[in-house]
Symmetry: D2
Subunit: 140 residues, 4 copies
């Protein structure tokens, strides 16, 4: 069933900087929250993954393009989609909306990674997870 996964938040006081606009690393913290939210929504809560399976979704790269500054108390929605699933890696897209207007757009590339060994390493994405994502994304 097609479904858009959205994460909602309000800009907090401490997230703005001395220039009065949002301190930009907060956008990445919000993408991170949106990704954890996405995995929980499709039945793969990341806390459970880490505590039970010692699996997590660390970052390979992340980029964000900023169009309009955000300020304290803005209500923001992030629309998250996974556009690509490679063997061990996901491409996760995030669109930031305020009052229906796109204020920023970014993506994260995350690995499916085994934290059992001292050295974290990417492992193949399980088929069930792949299917859970595809069933959300393909009919959107």
């Amino acid at each position: 069933m097609a479904r858009t996964i959205e994460y909602h938040f309000q800009v907090r006081w401490g997230e703005t900087d001395a220039a009065g606009i949002v301190f930009y690393p907060s956008f990445y913290a919000w993408m991170d929250e949106a990704s954890h939210h996405y995995f929980a929504e499709i039945g793969y809560p990341t806390t459970k993954l880490l505590s039970e399976d010692k699996v997590s979704i660390p970052l390979c790269e992340a980029k964000c393009v900023f169009k309009t500054p955000l300020v304290f108390s803005d209500q923001v929605t992030i629309r998250t989609t996974i556009s690509e699933i490679r063997k061990k890696v996901f491409v996760i897209n995030h669109t930031f909306l305020r009052d229906g207007e796109t204020v920023a757009e970014g993506y994260e590339i995350r690995a499916w990674a085994d934290f059992n060994t001292p050295r974290v390493r990417a492992v193949p994405i399980p088929d069930e997870l792949r299917q859970a994502i595809e069933s959300i994304e393909t009919t959107a």
Copy 2:
């Protein structure tokens, strides 16, 4: 005179996450610190710019590629260079090094922006600043 501008820091306890490695938005906070450090080093401290001239250097976009996870108490150096100066915009490159090994690489595109008006807007980069940067970068 050629000169490499470096910013040094140690990973703090609160910068790691539940998986025991650095929470990735911290890399952007560190790029931000390195950029403020760069401008201070070439004679343009950003606090003074903001308080006296109401000018600041907000972000247009930022990307980082992560090679090796960092953990609490790692000693890290960021090597910062400005590779391009457009009319109103800078491209700032950051290389993260731990024990001489590159652990991450990123860039920021920042505008030279006027904060006098309610709506922040990019304005042309002054010639003196352009020359101050070029004198650092061209002979490196």
Copy 3:
């Protein structure tokens, strides 16, 4: 009319530390959010205070006592009350609840402060604000 002002949030991934529990300074960030929420709820949004009147509510002191560690994705409620209004200063109490259980308790002492001058200084709390708070608190 008696009314309890509550602020709700969920613990974010980046708010936990290498030991897997919440990085404790986050509790103060949450008290800060709860105080800004309180002032907005009683008709004094702090952004408007700062932008229009150059007034803000900086901290004199803050303390928190931690009873039970919080972990990623916990749903938490902060119940906020102002127990004392001195001439220029408020005492704001915060109780953190998870599933009805108190997990932490803290307070903030904040000044009513003028940010017009370079040097921030506490000024008398206006009578209308005092009454707005008392009308919430006295009948609780």
Copy 4:
């Protein structure tokens, strides 16, 4: 041998808020850094404690009193002392200095805690650690 343990830092851009002064929870993050620094200085680095012994020093309570606001790029020193060692708990005092002037003072009460079991619990402080602290503090 008497020795004062000090932690030095510079206020970062992202640590200030929309009012242009330091976002107050940062003071607790700095006390946390100073405490980790203290334990490393006396031969008990907290990363090693956690990874090898599954022991950490979680918070029971923390308080800070703010005298003077800090702003971006201020150079600050924290002077840390342990004033009391109970059976399972330490009282750690922190004095924040800028140009020799005390700008804030706080304390943390931390437990010596076993993280081996799912439920974190305080355990008796080992005698060697107690002596390591006393040898620093008593002759100061």
